[in-house]
C-alpha cells in the first residue's frame, strides 16, 4: 500500500517538469511543448514570455477548466452563476469564448456581461481598460459560479468521502484495518489522541470537526501537488478557502467558550486592577488574531510552495539555456519533496492549533 503510494508520488515528480511546462496558456489556447512555446513566442515577438502571468494564472481561480494530462489538453466550460440586479443568472463560461480582456460581451437576463481577467462585470458600467482590482461591488454581479477551485474542492471532498466509506466498509467484515483503512486509521487515531491531549475530557465532540479539517487540508494539499488534471490545483493556497476554515474555527471556539475562558479574556485574573482593561483589550484582539494566523499560515505556506515550484519550472523558459532544465529540475524535485512534508505539516498544524484553541475555550480553570 505505502509502496504504491510513494511510487505514485515519484511518478508525479517525474512528470512534473514537462507537464507544468504544458500549462503555458495563451488566451485559452494550450501550448503543448517547449519548442512550440518558443515558436509561438518568436511569431509573437512583441509579446515577451511572461512567467508572472503564467504563475498567477495557475494560482488564481478560473471559470474555465483546462484539463491537462501529458499530450491531452481540453478546456471544459464550467457554469457561471451570477446574482445580478435582475436575480439569478446562469450560463456557460463557454459563451465568453475564452476571452478575458472584456472583448466578448454576453447578454443574459436583460443584462450585458464581460469578463476582465477572471472577473465578470456589467459591460455597461465598466470601461475598456479597467484594472479588475478597482471594480466596485455595484459595477459587477455577485459571482457564485462553479469555478475551477469550486469544482476541485468538490472533487477533493468526493474522493475523501469515497476513501472514508472504504475505510468504514473495511471494518464491517473485520475489525482489523485492511487496505486503505490501514493508512487512514493511524491518522484518525493520531488526530483523536492529539485532540484528547489538547482539549481535555470534553474532547470527543470536537474530534469529527478536527478530523474533517485535517483530512480536507491534507487531501487538498496533496492533490494540489499532483501535477496533472484533475489535480494540481491551488485550493488551500487560496485565502478565501482558509478564511472560511478559520472562521469556522473562530465560531466553534467562541460558541464553546465557558465562564473561565471569558473571564480570562474580559477580566484576566492575577493582573493588577489598573492593567486589567488593557490586558482585556489585548485578549479581545487575540480572539481574532488566532484564527487570522491560522488563515494566513496555511494560505501562505501552500501558495509559497506552488509559487516556488512554478518559478523553478518557468526559469527554463526565461533563460532558454540547456543547463537550466537540469538545475531547475533538480530544484523542483527538491521543492516537491519538501512540499510533501509541508502538506502533512500544515494540515497537522492547522488541526493542532484549532484543538488548542478549543482546549482554551472548554478547559476548566487549572492554575
Amino acid at each position: 500500500m505505502n509502496y504504491r503510494f510513494f511510487t505514485y508520488i515519484f511518478i508525479s515528480l517525474f512528470l512534473a517538469s514537462f507537464n507544468l511546462s504544458a500549462q503555458t496558456e495563451h488566451n485559452g489556447e494550450a501550448i503543448h511543448h517547449e519548442e512550440q512555446a518558443a515558436v509561438h513566442e518568436e511569431s509573437d515577438g512583441d509579446k515577451p514570455y511572461d512567467p508572472t502571468e503564467l504563475i498567477n494564472h495557475h494560482l488564481s481561480d478560473s471559470h474555465d477548466y483546462a484539463f491537462e494530462l501529458p499530450f491531452i489538453h481540453k478546456t471544459f466550460h464550467l457554469p457561471i452563476i451570477l446574482w445580478t440586479k435582475n436575480g439569478l443568472t446562469i450560463f456557460s463560461s463557454g459563451e465568453f469564448q475564452g476571452d478575458e480582456h472584456g472583448e466578448v460581451i454576453v447578454e443574459k437576463n436583460g443584462q450585458k456581461f464581460k469578463r476582465i481577467h477572471d472577473l465578470i462585470v456589467y459591460a455597461d458600467k465598466v470601461g475598456e481598460h479597467v484594472d479588475p482590482n478597482e471594480v466596485t461591488l455595484d459595477q459587477r454581479p455577485l459571482d457564485f459560479s462553479i469555478t475551477k477551485n469550486v469544482f476541485s474542492m468538490l472533487l477533493t471532498f468526493l474522493i475523501l468521502l469515497v476513501v472514508l466509506l472504504y475505510t468504514k466498509k473495511s471494518y464491517d467484515k473485520n475489525k482489523v484495518p485492511r487496505g486503505i483503512a490501514s493508512f487512514i486509521e493511524p491518522l484518525i487515531v493520531f488526530i483523536r489522541d492529539m485532540a484528547k491531549e489538547n482539549i481535555g475530557p470534553k474532547y470527543e465532540k470536537f474530534v469529527p470537526f478536527l478530523l474533517t479539517v485535517f483530512f480536507f487540508i491534507l487531501f487538498a494539499n496533496l492533490f494540489g501537488l499532483i501535477p496533472f488534471s484533475p489535480f494540481g490545483y491551488n485550493l488551500t493556497g487560496n485565502i478565501a478557502v482558509t478564511f472560511v476554515l478559520a472562521v469556522i474555527v473562530f465560531i466553534i471556539t467562541n460558541v464553546n467558550g465557558n465562564k473561565s475562558y471569558w473571564t480570562h479574556i474580559l477580566w484576566p485574573p492575577g493582573v493588577p486592577v489598573i492593567l486589567k482593561p488593557f490586558i482585556a483589550l489585548i485578549e479581545i484582539l487575540s480572539i481574532f488574531t488566532k484564527p487570522f494566523a491560522l488563515m494566513i499560515r496555511l494560505f501562505a505556506n501552500i501558495l509559497a510552495g506552488h509559487t516556488i515550484i512554478l518559478t523553478f519550472v518557468t526559469l527554463i523558459f526565461v533563460f532558454k539555456n540547456w543547463g537550466v532544465p537540469f538545475a531547475s529540475g533538480f530544484a523542483t524535485i527538491f521543492m516537491y519533496i519538501s512540499e510533501l512534508l509541508v502538506a502533512f505539516l500544515q494540515a497537522y498544524v492547522f488541526t493542532l492549533l484549532s484543538a488548542i484553541y478549543f482546549g482554551m475555550a472548554v478547559k476548566e480553570e487549572a492554575h
Binding site: 477572471d118 459571482d143 471532498f157 468504514k168 493556497g237
Partner: protein
C-alpha cells in the same frame, strides 16, 4: 494570486465544508471512531484479562506450593510419629520379651532348683541308706571279733571330743 471575487469560494467552501462535515460525521467518523474505540476497549479488556489470568495462575501456583509444603510437613510429621511408634513398639516388645524371658529363666531356675533339691535329697537318702548298709556290713564284719569291737568303741570314744 488574484482574488477578484472572493464571495465565490467563500460561499462554496462554507456550503461544501458544512455539507461534507455532516456527511462525514454520519457516514464515517461516528462508525469509524466507534469501531476504533470498541477495538481499543476489547484489546484493553483482553490485556487486563490476561493479567488477571496470570495473577490467578501465580496464586494457584503459590497455593499448590503451599499445599505441597503442608503435605510434606504432614508427611514428615507422620513419619516422625511412625518412627516414634515403631521405637515404642520395639521397646515394649523387647521389654516384654525380656520380662517373659526373665520369668522363664526364673521358672527354669526354680524347677532346676527344686529338681536339684529333690536330686540332692534322693542322693542323700541313697547315700545314707548306702552308708547305713555299708556301715552295717562293715560293723558286722568288724564286730565279729571282740577285740576288734572294743578297739572300735575306744577309737570312737576318743574321736568324740568334748567341747
Amino acid at each position: 494570486m488574484n482574488l477578484l471575487h472572493p464571495e465565490t469560494l467563500v460561499f462554496w467552501t462554507t456550503l461544501f465544508f458544512l455539507l461534507f462535515l455532516f456527511l462525514f460525521i454520519k457516514l464515517a467518523w461516528k462508525p469509524i471512531l466507534k469501531t476504533i474505540k470498541e477495538r481499543e476497549k476489547s484489546i484493553e479488556d483482553a490485556l487486563l484479562e490476561a493479567d488477571k489470568a496470570r495473577e490467578e495462575m501465580a496464586k494457584l501456583k503459590a497455593d499448590n506450593q503451599k499445599i505441597l509444603n503442608e503435605a510434606r510437613a504432614q508427611r514428615d510429621e507422620m513419619l516422625k510419629e511412625a518412627k516414634l511408634l515403631k521405637e515404642q513398639i520395639i521397646n515394649k516388645a523387647r521389654e516384654e520379651a525380656q520380662a517373659e524371658a526373665g520369668k522363664e529363666i526364673a521358672k527354669a531356675k526354680q524347677v532346676i532348683q527344686s529338681e536339684k533339691q529333690a536330686a540332692i535329697k534322693e542322693l542323700k537318702n541313697q547315700v545314707s541308706e548306702l552308708s547305713i548298709n555299708i556301715a552295717e556290713k562293715v560293723l558286722a564284719e568288724e564286730l565279729k571279733d571282740k577285740n576288734e569291737q572294743i578297739k572300735q568303741v575306744e577309737k570312737l570314744i576318743s574321736d568324740i571330743k568334748f567341747n
